[in-house]
Symmetry: C2
Subunit: 305 residues, 2 copies
């Protein structure tokens, strides 16, 4: 039994829309109810002219939707577990994390070092590991973003598009859309398209090439997440890094929002030929997953002289 | 009688808070009710720890507060005047303006060329000139931003800070604060400090050096605006370009908002020693005036290699 299974064993909830409503109630005072945005010029430029409602999770605490899943996971811990301190793997910007009172343990940026360091922190502190995407509570927490978007949009959505990395956000979104008439789509970079490939092959890929500017989507899709996506997501649309950067620039210019490449991926998918050829009529929800970008580096569309 | 006076003659309203309420009712369906933002890490870093409520006029239509004054000015035109087409000098980004259906006439970027071109457009089309800051309706329209902020903030504000260029926003803000207990401050770049200097000398300066990164604040303060500021604004605080860029970067990083240098000037003033030494207790409103920045250029804090 690994750390993830152990945590889930404490408080299992079924993977359903009803559980996402429970999750939302549990975390609504901890999270920001992020605003939604629309921009007529961005809609007008689409062949389908669909009104777009952007859910701005870049304005979430920690700068990304991950605060939702992490908050819900924390809310399910026992007081004893909480006292020992959870190790939040959501990894928003270090300064922001410190400002929220966390203590941070650094390690080399690879899977082995992460596992070793995590094991050593847990051994020293007895801390509980909060899995970033491949866990029931995480998926339920991420699904709350769509619940809010559906409440906030002034008209019913025809579809929603969310990016897929580990798949917590997309699986949660698909569960939250159950019983509504909202069609659910994923958006994935061509350079990390393990989910789209896995869907094509009918079997989850366990690794990912991860050659993309969208650093938040370099993770292979999780074991729990993949079958949910397989069952409930209509298609995962892949987009090139060039398309992601173009979408990102448009969002900065027109929405005036700081969006990271991963956060622009769903909009890039909406602008793609593949999506537009579906001929969906009606408003489309677009989840901006995050805004954590290193602003000390040149913007990806600014040519270095 | 110049174009500005002519427009005002059509529909004079007194320069009072009550008139700003009228203006708000007139434009509320035309403008965005922009959201307010707060960031605990930005407040925690201030000596006074004041909660800051940022009014995000960078998310206003056209990317700046100027849409308010322009909308109210337009709403006061007769059908005949409207038909001939107004020349909106609010100058948001050209693409955005075109997307709103405007036709744009370009000219050299200096006062003489502007006046000549404007006169020729007016002669050809009979269009009405909407003055960008030095007119009653413009001032009343700009004042609506504070009305909304006061409604949106969950607790009463102790003070509000707005940038001053032409002075329409600051004068409108000061009028909107009348009868409330909100203390009003202006924020001006050291490199375009004609308003602060004029206040010191007791007489409006008619020109401005305009050596600052805050391109929206390079205008000399208007004739109508100056006496309102003189009477109702507690102080105009000047900040260096370095302070503006630092504030701007913090806003991009923590608020995840694209803010132009002028839009960061009020926050720079709040962070200044001069403001902090006032020892104001309670929440402070900060008006983010706009987000129209040329994103094809390097960010001002990114060193060119």
């Amino acid at each position: 039994m690994n750390a993830s299974q152990e945590q889930e064993a404490v408080s299992p909830l079924p993977l359903t829309r009803a559980s996402i409503l429970v999750a939302h109630q549990a975390i609504s005072r901890l999270i920001h109810r992020t605003p939604i945005f629309t921009a007529s010029s961005l809609s007008a430029a689409l062949p389908g002219k669909n009104t777009l409602f952007f859910k701005a999770e870049n304005l979430q605490k920690g700068g990304a939707f991950k605060f939702r899943g992490a908050s819900f996971s924390l809310s399910r811990l026992s007081p004893e577990e909480l006292e020992k301190g959870p190790n939040n793997s959501a990894r928003p910007k270090i300064d922001a994390v410190r400002a929220y009172g966390a203590s941070i343990t650094f390690c080399e940026p690879n899977a082995t070092a992460r596992a070793t360091t995590l094991a050593s922190v847990q051994a020293q502190t007895g801390a509980t590991f909060i899995p970033p995407y491949d866990a029931v509570n995480t998926i339920l927490g991420q699904g709350t973003a769509l619940l809010e978007l559906l409440e906030q949009a002034p008209e019913p959505l025809a579809a929603v598009v969310a990016p897929v990395g580990g798949g917590g956000l997309l699986a949660g979104t698909a569960l939250a859309a159950e019983g509504t008439r909202v069609r659910v789509f994923g958006a994935e970079p061509v350079g990390a398209d393990d989910c789209a490939q896995g869907l094509k092959e009918g079997k989850r890929r366990e690794d990912v090439r991860a050659n993309t500017i969208a650093d938040g989507l370099r993770t292979p899709v999780g074991m729990l997440n993949f079958p949910i996506i397989q069952e409930k997501v209509e298609a995962v649309i892949t987009v090139t890094d060039e398309e992601i950067v173009e979408a990102m620039r448009l969002m900065w210019e027109r929405l005036k929002l700081v969006v990271e490449p991963s956060g622009a991926t769903a909009f890039a998918a909406v602008r793609s030929k593949q999506f537009q050829e579906l001929g969906i009529e009606g408003p489309i929800g677009v989840i901006i997953s995050g805004g954590n970008i290193d602003l000390s580096k040149p913007l990806p569309w600014v040519r270095q002289e």
